[in-house]
């Protein structure tokens, strides 16, 4: 599979994807919106699912369905094996960590909340500092605002500069000696900016702080090695990387996870319970109370295969090329301003922009009427919007199945919108 789909066209010696062939694997991409073919550019919100993912879950419910771990019958053994097999694959996918270090959650949001509750409540005290950045998604913002309020800890933000990148000039002061945690996004879902996580992680560790990386936008789009980053925690969601909704991942270093209290209490996560006492199961199950999203884990497995077969390097290259193309085309439109760095080496394919005269909501509605799905709003980053003096942006975000033709349609329709809303 990988071969054909990655040999579509070549450029500058790099292997590029062949999105036209890839499209054929995604049933929804043959859908029409009204009388137009769907052009899906809302991949930072959620991606579509290939046939292999859809049918793996279908098959699961048709042939294997059972609760996991506790069963002595065939269906239970098969389901447990499938459920745990995906965990192995995830561990390999993010750089070859231990299987015990992979905790299933509902999504990236829950993964970060798990750390805030189980690690944060025990380790964060009044006067401690938590360092975030100005470009965080609410998922990596609100849990810490709540924790800071509860504990009296202080939140400090690494600022962004005029090029929409983190300004690391005062990083040594911002990450102070009383900093207990540095938690930053690997890639911004608004700006597309890719942050220098290795560097920031080193500073964090040198001050004795733990380092959490929100990988919701990075793991789907580029090779990620959590050991090379030396992240203590790393969070992401399956649904943004071809997988199903309702399943996400928290990676955590074994030594740290072992010291943490559990999060969700109930079945599966215990070793022994008496009426007045409970003791915990081994990692990773200690953090997985109750019946998990088994079908979700089963469906996540072919998603990982699909990405691995294409090759994360190839995916990254494809997105660099297509992002460059998009930025160039959008820059041709005088009324459009791109909100994010232009240099494609330091950014991903979530491309925010505004039209100086048309509100992003109107733009999105207009684009939708032509079959083009983009997102408009604050993208769950209200403080960043305010910081930028904006209330909303429109955002086109690309993935493996997007083509230059999709971008051409976007740009053409943005011109049409000018005619519709501004009589141009």
């Amino acid at each position: 599979m990988g071969d054909v789909k990655t040999k579509g066209h070549h450029s500058a010696g790099k292997t590029l994807l062949n999105p036209e062939m890839i499209k054929a694997d995604f049933p929804i991409l043959s859908r029409r919106i009204g009388d137009r073919p769907l052009v899906y550019l809302d991949n930072a919100a959620t991606t579509h699912k290939p046939e292999s993912v859809i049918s793996a879950m279908d098959e699961y419910y048709r042939k294997m369905n059972s609760n996991v771990h506790r069963g002595l019958h065939t269906l239970a053994e098969e389901s447990t094996a499938a459920f745990e097999w995906t965990r192995k694959k995830i561990a390999a996918f993010i750089g070859g960590v231990e299987t015990e270090e992979i905790i299933y959650t509902r999504n990236a949001t829950e993964a970060i909340n798990l750390v805030a509750y189980s690690w944060g409540r025990k380790n964060i005290r009044k006067g401690d500092r938590i360092v975030l950045t100005e470009m965080e998604h609410h998922a990596n913002l609100v849990p810490w605002i709540a924790l800071a309020k509860e504990t009296g800890a202080e939140l400090k933000y690494i600022p962004i500069d005029d090029n929409y990148r983190l300004d690391l000039n005062n990083i040594d002061k911002i990450i102070s000696d009383n900093t207990r945690l540095v938690s930053i996004t690997h890639m911004s879902n608004v700006l597309g900016t890719i942050n220098p996580v290795e560097e920031i992680g080193q500073t964090a560790h040198s001050k004795g702080a733990l380092f959490l990386v929100d990988g919701a936008q990075s793991v789907p789009h580029m090779p990620v090695d959590v050991k090379a980053i030396d992240a203590d925690f790393y969070a992401f969601s399956a649904h943004k990387m071809l997988g199903p909704t309702g399943i996400g991942v928290l990676y955590g270093k074994e030594s740290i996870l072992n010291e943490m209290e559990p999060f969700i209490y109930g079945g599966e996560m215990i070793s022994e319970v008496r009426y007045d006492f409970a003791d915990w199961n081994d990692l990773p199950w200690k953090f997985e109370g109750g019946t998990p999203n088994i079908a979700g884990a089963v469906g996540f497995s072919p998603a990982l295969d699909y990405l691995s077969d294409l090759g994360m390097d190839n995916i990254r290259n494809h997105e660099i090329e297509l992002t460059a193309y998009t930025i160039a085309k959008l820059s041709d439109l005088k009324s459009i301003k791109i909100i994010g760095p232009h240099d494609t080496c330091m950014r991903g394919g979530a491309i925010s922009f505004i039209d100086k005269d048309i509100h992003p909501h109107d733009l999105a509605t207009f684009l939708d009427s032509r079959g083009i799905a983009v997102r408009a709003g604050h993208h769950c980053a209200q403080p960043l919007m305010k910081r930028l003096g904006l209330t909303a942006t429109a955002r086109a975000s690309i993935y493996i199945y997007n083509t230059p033709e999709d971008i051409d349609k976007l740009v053409k329709t943005l011109r049409e919108a000018r005619r519709y809303f501004c009589n141009e």
């Binding site: 009204g34 509100h359 109107d362 709003g377 604050h378 919007m385 809303f421 009589n423």
Partner: protein, 154 residues
């Protein structure tokens, strides 16, 4: 979809959006009210002058999408000279229309009828409502201030 689009952005709405009424300075207002819709980022500032319990003049400054701007502009047109009670009844009627329901009362809404198309765009209903809820809140605050004024002078 494109039919639908035109039912949302009707000519009347586009007209109000491009040339919003009520965008002006207003000195010594009786009512000042601000509203925002944090999810959309829409923000509205409103000033109202009352005379004999009726709306004498209104100014609206709206930062938002075509729908919220147009809705505010039509509001400015529609309420001049109306009593506070009448304004509240119109607001209820608009709410009903936006939910795709028939309003309780059957009165002539004029341009405001054009908001009907919004009911098919659930995420945009809030935009159309913002100016109305901001106005009603402002008037109610004014009324309760009046009452407490009366209460304290009594």
């Amino acid at each position: 979809m494109s039919e639908n689009l035109d039912s949302l952005y009707r000519d009347i709405i586009m007209e109000h959006y491009k040339y919003p009424r009520g965008k002006k300075k207003l000195e010594d207002p009786d009512v000042t009210s601000e509203g925002k819709n944090p999810v959309c980022g829409d923000e509205i500032g409103m000033k109202v002058k009352l005379k004999d319990g009726k709306i004498e003049d209104i100014s609206i400054d709206c930062l938002g999408c075509a729908i919220s701007v147009a809705s505010g502009s039509m509001l400015a047109d529609a309420i001049k000279g109306k009593s506070i009670e009448e304004v509240k009844r119109i607001a209820s009627a608009i709410k009903a229309i936006l939910k795709g329901e028939k309003p309780d009362e059957d009165f002539d809404l004029g341009d405001l009828e054009a908001l009907e198309g919004v009911s098919k765009f659930p995420v945009r209903i809030k935009c159309a409502l913002l100016s109305w809820t901001t106005l009603v809140e402002g008037l109610e605050t004014w009324e309760s201030g009046k009452k407490s004024e009366i209460a304290t002078t009594e």
